[in-house]
C-alpha cells in the first residue's frame, strides 16, 4: 500500500511559494512567469468583467449590447502548472478552486469536445446529500452547501430548486434501507426521514399510493434539501469564474497521451513514474501535474499514464418529455423500479434510470430504456400516459465496485484522479473540485476524501455505499 501513496511525498515548491507569497496579484504573476512558458496572455482579462444582474440586463437591453465572452478564447500554450483533462463540472470546479482558494492560476482545462459535453450536460441535475455512509453524507453535504451558495459565489443563477427529494420504497426490505439511510443522515444533522404512503401522496399528489398497485409504495425517504439545478449554468459558472482568475479553457483539445518518466512500465509510465506533460491533437503541453476528470473515459486517460483503475464504463440514459403545466413538486426516485423523475420549471419531465446492463462507450441510447422507463413511470403515475417523450440521450458513467469515487494521488507522481463517480458525479462536482484543488495545492489528501483513495481497492477496504447502490440517484 505504501507504494500507492508516493505522490503525497511530492512537494510542489513553485505552487506552494506562489500560493503563500503572493496570493493576490494572480494574473500578473501568471503573465510574468517565463519559466512555465507563459509569454503573454492573449485575451487575458484586463479588468474585472461585468457582473450579471437585472440592472445589467436592462442596460444591455436598452443599448442592444452583448455581454463579454463567458470565457476567453486563447491560444494553447506549451506549459502550465496544472493541466486538467476534462472540461466538465469536476474539471472546471477543480480549476476554479485552485485559482480562488489556492491562488494557482496557471492552469489549463482541456476538453476534447466543448465544455460540459460529457456527463455534466447529460445528467438529470439532481442534488442531494442523503447517502448511506458517514463518509458519503459528509462529502455530499459539503457539495450541497456549495450548491446552495453557488448563485452568489459564481454570480450566475444556477436556478437551484430546493424542492425536496423522495426515494420510494416498494418493499419491506427497501423500507429498511430507507430507515437505515434516514438514521445515518439524522445523526449527521441531515434533514432526512422516512414517511408513509399518505404523506407521500400529500407531497406528490400524482403518485399512485394505492395498495393494489403492482409495486405498491410502502413509504419513502424524504429529503427536503434535495432538489434540481440547471446543470449547464453550473458548468458555465465555473468556467466563467475560473476564467476571471486566469485559468484557460481549451475546447476541442483532445489528450492523446500522457508523458511520463521513470515509471516501471513502457515509456516511463506506471508505478514510480512522474508526469511531465500531455500530447494533444493541438501539440504537446508540459506540466508537472495532470488531473484526470474524465468520468466515462477515465480508464482511457489513466491508461496513458500506466495507472489501472477499478472502473468500467456504462452508459446512463435519460429522457425528457414535452412540457405540460407544472404538477410534480418534488424529485421522485424509485430504486426498485429503476427510475427517477423531476419536472423542470419549463414543464418537462426529466427521467433517468439505471445504467445500461453492459459496458460500452456508446451514447446513442436504446429503445429498451425508454420502454422500461415509461412502464415504470406509469406504474408510479398512471395519469401521465398521454404525455410524450421528446428526446432521449445517454452519458458515460465510470462505475466502481463500491459505488464510490477514486480521488487523489496515484502511483504516478503528478498524475491525480477525480473519477469513478458512477451516477453521482454531478451532485459531487463542487466539493470534488474543492477537495481536489486542496489536494493539489497542499500535496496532502484532504480528510473529506481520505476514504476515496485508489489504494483502498488493493487493501480490500471498500466504501460502504455499495449497500445503497440499488436506491441511488
Amino acid at each position: 500500500m505504501a507504494n500507492l501513496s508516493i505522490g503525497e511525498g511530492f512537494i510542489f515548491t513553485l505552487l506552494r511559494l506562489r500560493n503563500y507569497v503572493e496570493p493576490m496579484g494572480l494574473l500578473n504573476d501568471v503573465a510574468s512567469r517565463g519559466a512555465s512558458g507563459a509569454k503573454k496572455i492573449v485575451g487575458s482579462r484586463g479588468s474585472k468583467p461585468p457582473r450579471y444582474s437585472a440592472a445589467g440586463l436592462i442596460a444591455k437591453g436598452l443599448r442592444g449590447e452583448s455581454w463579454p465572452r463567458v470565457w476567453r478564447d486563447v491560444p494553447l500554450r506549451s506549459a502550465y502548472d496544472v493541466i486538467i483533462v476534462g472540461g466538465g463540472v469536476h474539471g472546471l470546479a477543480t480549476a476554479y478552486y485552485l485559482a480562488t482558494n489556492h491562488g494557482i492560476t496557471n492552469v489549463a482545462v482541456l476538453d476534447k469536445a466543448y465544455l460540459g459535453s460529457g456527463g455534466s450536460g447529460r445528467n438529470t441535475a439532481i442534488v442531494r446529500s442523503n447517502y448511506l455512509t458517514p463518509e458519503g453524507v459528509a462529502f455530499y453535504d459539503r457539495s450541497l452547501a456549495l450548491y446552495n451558495s453557488m448563485t452568489d459565489d459564481l454570480n450566475i443563477n444556477v436556478m437551484f430548486s430546493e424542492r425536496g427529494h423522495l426515494t420510494l420504497a416498494h418493499s419491506d426490505s427497501a423500507l429498511r434501507t430507507m430507515h437505515w439511510r434516514a438514521e445515518v443522515n439524522k445523526l449527521q444533522n441531515i434533514d432526512s426521514s422516512v414517511i408513509d404512503p399518505q404523506q407521500v401522496k400529500e407531497i406528490v399528489p400524482s403518485l399512485n399510493v394505492s395498495s393494489d398497485a403492482h409495486h405498491p409504495i410502502a413509504g419513502a425517504l424524504y429529503h427536503p434539501p434535495g432538489g434540481i439545478i440547471r446543470h449547464d449554468a453550473v458548468v458555465w459558472g465555473y468556467a466563467r469564474g475560473a476564467d476571471h482568475h486566469g485559468v484557460e479553457m481549451h475546447q476541442k483539445t483532445e489528450v492523446l497521451d500522457i508523458v511520463c518518466t521513470g515509471g516501471e512500465g513502457p515509456d516511463g509510465k506506471g508505478r514510480g513514474g512522474k508526469v511531465t506533460g500531455v500530447r494533444t491533437n493541438r501539440g504537446d503541453v508540459s506540466a508537472p501535474i495532470v488531473v484526470n476528470c474524465t468520468a466515462g473515459w477515465a480508464t482511457l486517460i489513466s491508461d496513458m499514464a500506466g495507472v489501472r483503475l477499478p472502473i468500467t464504463t456504462q452508459p446512463l440514459q435519460a429522457a425528457v418529455t414535452e412540457p405540460v403545466k407544472v404538477f410534480l413538486p418534488a424529485v421522485v426516485v424509485s430504486g426498485s423500479l429503476h427510475v427517477y423523475v423531476s419536472q423542470t420549471d419549463r414543464g418537462e419531465l426529466v427521467f433517468g434510470a439505471a445504467v445500461d446492463p453492459f459496458t460500452n462507450y456508446n451514447v446513442r441510447g436504446s429503445l429498451d430504456f425508454t420502454e422500461g422507463l415509461a412502464g415504470h413511470i406509469l406504474e408510479l403515475m398512471p395519469g401521465v400516459s398521454k404525455m410524450r417523450l421528446l428526446r432521449q440521450w445517454a452519458g458515460l458513467c465510470d462505475m466502481t465496485p463500491d459505488y464510490s469515487p477514486v480521488m487523489g494521488f496515484t502511483p504516478v507522481d503528478g498524475f491525480l484522479c477525480d473519477v469513478g463517480w458512477g451516477t453521482y458525479g454531478f451532485k459531487a462536482g463542487p466539493v470534488a473540485g474543492e477537495q481536489m484543488a486542496e489536494c493539489i495545492a497542499t500535496q496532502r489528501t484532504p480528510k473529506l476524501i481520505e476514504a476515496f483513495k485508489l489504494g483502498r481497492f488493493e487493501a480490500g477496504r471498500l466504501v460502504g455505499e455499495k449497500g445503497a447502490a440499488a436506491v441511488g440517484h
Partner: protein, 90 residues
C-alpha cells in the same frame, strides 16, 4: 437491442442474455498476492475497443460463452447481422 451471437442458439436479443463482464482468469487462490487477487476482483481493462467478454444465455441455452465485442461501437466480431458497417462517402 443488440443482437448477440450466441454460439449455441444463434443470434439472440441481448435482453435474453446477461452480460457477465470482461473475460478474466482466476489467479491461483492459494498463491496469489493481495495485489494479484484484488486486480482479479476489481481491475478491468475497460478498453474502448475490441474486448473479449463473457455472456450468459439466460433465456436460451443457459451456456456461458466468450465473444469479442467492440465496446466503442457495440459491434461483434463476425456479427450476426451483416450490414451494420458504416462506410465512406455516400
Amino acid at each position: 437491442m443488440l443482437l448477440v451471437p450466441c454460439p449455441y442458439c444463434g443470434p439472440r436479443n441481448s435482453s435474453d442474455l446477461r452480460h457477465v463482464g470482461e473475460a478474466i482468469s482466476r489467479p491461483d487462490p492459494n498463491a496469489a498476492s493481495p495485489e494479484q487477487w484484488r486486480s482479479y476482483l476489481y481491475l478491468r481493462d475497460n478498453v474502448a475497443d475490441w474486448n473479449v467478454e463473457t455472456w450468459y444465455c439466460t433465456r436460451g441455452c443457459r451456456k456461458y460463452f466468450k465473444v469479442e465485442r467492440n465496446t466503442a461501437t457495440n459491434e461483434f466480431r463476425d456479427p450476426p447481422m451483416p450490414g451494420n458497417k458504416i462506410g465512406g462517402k455516400a
